[in-house]
């Protein structure tokens, strides 16, 4: 299982790079934003917590950069991200964990849906190349994929929430309903998620369609597809087991690469809809100059993306025997 080990190694390296960036950015940026922030903490948190914050933002000059870096790594490893200013005196970790389910539910579900739908449409439109579906959908989605996520979100609010009044225009749930595992609450959450989900779906599906279509077109000219045709296999079987299975492999790698784009867009969508997820909270933290919360959220986003990539890698290993054996 060298493939899996390699990918795990890459996971660790990337995580390390993100943590190190987190450590370096406050030190490299000009100005003293961090010092100003520290002043707001003083007298409000205990000395140990204050010291941890000083390490994280390089405000304390008594310590060498290297030892500060090591202490910072130690704090991260123990999950100590400090105290949030925005939600004082709540800890950053607690706040972050509250936002996570919203984003996982919204972005996770829509991304998987967009991937499955996009791959299917790409497969079919390449299979029936020049057909009605092929002539219509890929060009449309080339254009929608150039739309700014947040603008599509604004448009959706305007049409469906303000003009038509069908769906709520912001928030994760109606604040008048009680938060509980009740039918009304679940329906309410779903109603609030329709517009943000549609926005993410529309803007991200185009990429999957195009790459899948291009892959299938490439695969269809391979000898093994001709062989399958010559054997007289049913077109259905050739499409799924021969063309589809082989063409989806680069798409899975593409999944890993474009997830960053999807997450970026989702941050803006959450911002527009005031959706109480990680992206919205990140921008809240920026607005309140709550750097501790902000940097913890950035790390969380990186970790989430890396996990999704590991899953895509695992899927590649299952689908492609070559990936398992070689290297």
């Amino acid at each position: 299982m060298r493939f899996v080990l390699r990918r795990l190694g890459f996971f660790v390296v990337t995580l390390w790079a993100a943590i190190t960036l987190n450590f370096l950015i406050p030190r490299l940026m000009p100005g003293n934003a961090a010092v100003a922030m520290m002043a707001r903490y003083r007298g409000r948190v205990n000395p140990t917590a204050l010291h941890a914050l000083e390490i994280a933002f390089g405000v304390n000059n008594h310590q060498s950069v290297l030892s500060a870096y090591l202490s910072y790594l130690g704090n991260i490893a123990r999950g100590r991200f400090g105290t949030s200013l925005t939600f004082f005196p709540d800890s950053v970790s607690h706040q972050v964990l509250q936002a996570l389910p919203w984003t996982l539910g919204l972005v996770g579900a829509t991304t998987i849906l967009a991937f499955i739908l996009g791959t299917l449409i790409g497969l079919v439109s390449a299979w029936r190349r020049g057909g009605l579906l092929d002539g219509l959908l890929p060009p449309i989605f080339v254009i929608t994929s150039a739309f700014p996520y947040f603008w599509l979100a604004l448009l959706a609010i305007w049409v469906f929430a303000i003009k038509l009044g069908w769906l709520p225009q912001n928030g994760g749930y109606d604040y008048t309903t009680t938060v509980a595992w009740s039918w009304t609450f679940v329906v309410d959450v779903l109603r609030h998620s329709v517009l943000p989900a549609m926005t993410i779906l529309l803007t991200s599906i185009g990429g999957w369609i195009l790459t899948m279509r291009n892959n299938v077109i490439g695969v269809l000219s391979e000898d093994y597809v001709r062989m399958a045709r010559a054997k007289g296999l049913s077109p259905w079987r050739i499409m799924w087991s021969y063309a589809g299975r082989n063409a989806i492999l680069p798409n899975l790698t593409g999944f890993a690469m474009s997830l960053g784009f999807v997450v970026s867009g989702a941050i803006l969508v959450e911002f527009v809809f005031n959706y109480p997820g990680v992206g919205w909270m990140l921008l809240q933290a920026v607005e309140n100059q709550d750097y501790a919360l902000m940097q913890a959220l950035f790390l969380l986003i990186v970790v989430a993306v890396l996990f999704a990539i590991l899953v895509a890698d695992a899927a590649t290993a299952v689908l492609d025997p070559r990936a398992r054996d070689v290297r």
């Binding site: 100005g31 690469m257 607005e287």
Partner: protein
């Protein structure tokens, strides 16, 4: 009789391998010809031309000074103000026209910077091979995987009200990884072809081989990665300005959206103010996306639309 018999097969062979490099002087003209023949590329180039004209001559085209708060605030669209006025009494159309310049500058400068970095990293990784390749590829993959937009938000949070130059540098410095990866794999497949080998045997220096033998054959992919990077820069810059991380006094589409959102333009009926800057971003983005898609077809003939043959029953 013997002369044509000798030359004919040679010409035939050249005709069968379109991927082989043409004589240097015609690479550019071939590209131009390919763009003119492709409908998606044409639409994209026309859109881009339109915005370029707006960006160069906003003073001559726009009816008003974009910042002047001289009209009745909050007017809806009329013959006088095609897209109405803002809550501050500015003409929305004039703001749109003046805003073109910044988006285009960000697209070209950040896209250009990203492309230069992508070529440098991608081609040298492929050409050097070995440990250098391993390291450069690792860096490329790490940057590819780390979500860039949140990272830019974090950086912009420290550098309050990021100006144009900061925006360009950050977007360019972080947006090269996708292009680098593609360029590396193409350079890998080219670097052992005969004509590169010939140049090496001729005793050409490494730099000469890269610049004059490898790069010309990669023109279309380089253009494609520029278009991709430019598209990303336009969207990311607009997004940053929209959430208020840009310079609030800048004359740009993203900043317009920021002010429209802050004044609840949608709720108060100033629809054009909130929608039109996004339309412009989307159109400029679509121009880059369409050209990118077309270049995919140009550099990969297999993807070109099948010409319609005679109708069959």
């Amino acid at each position: 009789m013997s002369v044509p018999a000798v030359t004919a097969p040679v010409q035939g062979a050249a005709g069968f391998e379109p991927a082989e490099p043409q004589p240097r002087s015609t690479v550019g003209t071939n590209l131009l010809y390919a763009v003119l023949r492709n409908r998606k590329a044409m639409v994209g180039s026309l859109l881009l031309l339109f915005f370029t004209v707006l960006a160069i001559f906003p003073g001559q085209i726009a009816p008003d000074d974009p910042q002047a708060e001289i009209y009745l605030p909050g007017q809806s669209a009329s013959a006088h103000h095609w897209f109405g006025t803002t809550s501050y009494g500015q003409d929305v159309l004039s703001q749109l026209i003046w805003g073109t310049r910044q988006s285009l500058i960000v697209a070209v400068a950040a896209g250009g910077l990203a492309t230069v970095l992508a070529v440098l990293v991608g081609v040298s990784a492929a050409y050097l091979g070995g440990i250098a390749d391993g390291l450069l590829s690792l860096v490329t993959d790490v940057i590819l995987v780390i979500p860039i937009f949140p990272l830019i938000i974090v950086i912009a949070a420290y550098e309050k009200n990021a100006g144009l130059l900061t925006l360009i540098i950050v977007l360019g410095a972080l947006g090269w990884s996708y292009g680098a990866r593609q360029l590396r794999s193409q350079a890998l497949s080219i670097r052992n072809r005969d004509f590169v080998e010939v140049a090496r045997v001729r005793g050409e220096r490494r730099l000469y081989v890269i610049v004059f033998e490898l790069l010309p054959t990669m023109t279309s992919l380089i253009v494609a990665s520029f278009l991709g990077a430019a598209l990303y820069a336009v969207l990311a810059a607009a997004g940053l300005q929209f959430v208020g991380l840009g310079d609030p006094n800048a004359q740009s589409w993203g900043t317009m959206l920021y002010w429209a959102q802050n004044n609840e333009a949608l709720g108060s009926g100033l629809v054009y103010w909130a929608i039109m800057p996004g339309v412009c971003v989307a159109l400029l983005g679509a121009a880059f996306a369409l050209m990118n898609y077309a270049f995919d077809e140009i550099s990969n003939p297999a993807l070109r639309p099948i010409p319609k043959l005679g109708r069959r029953k």
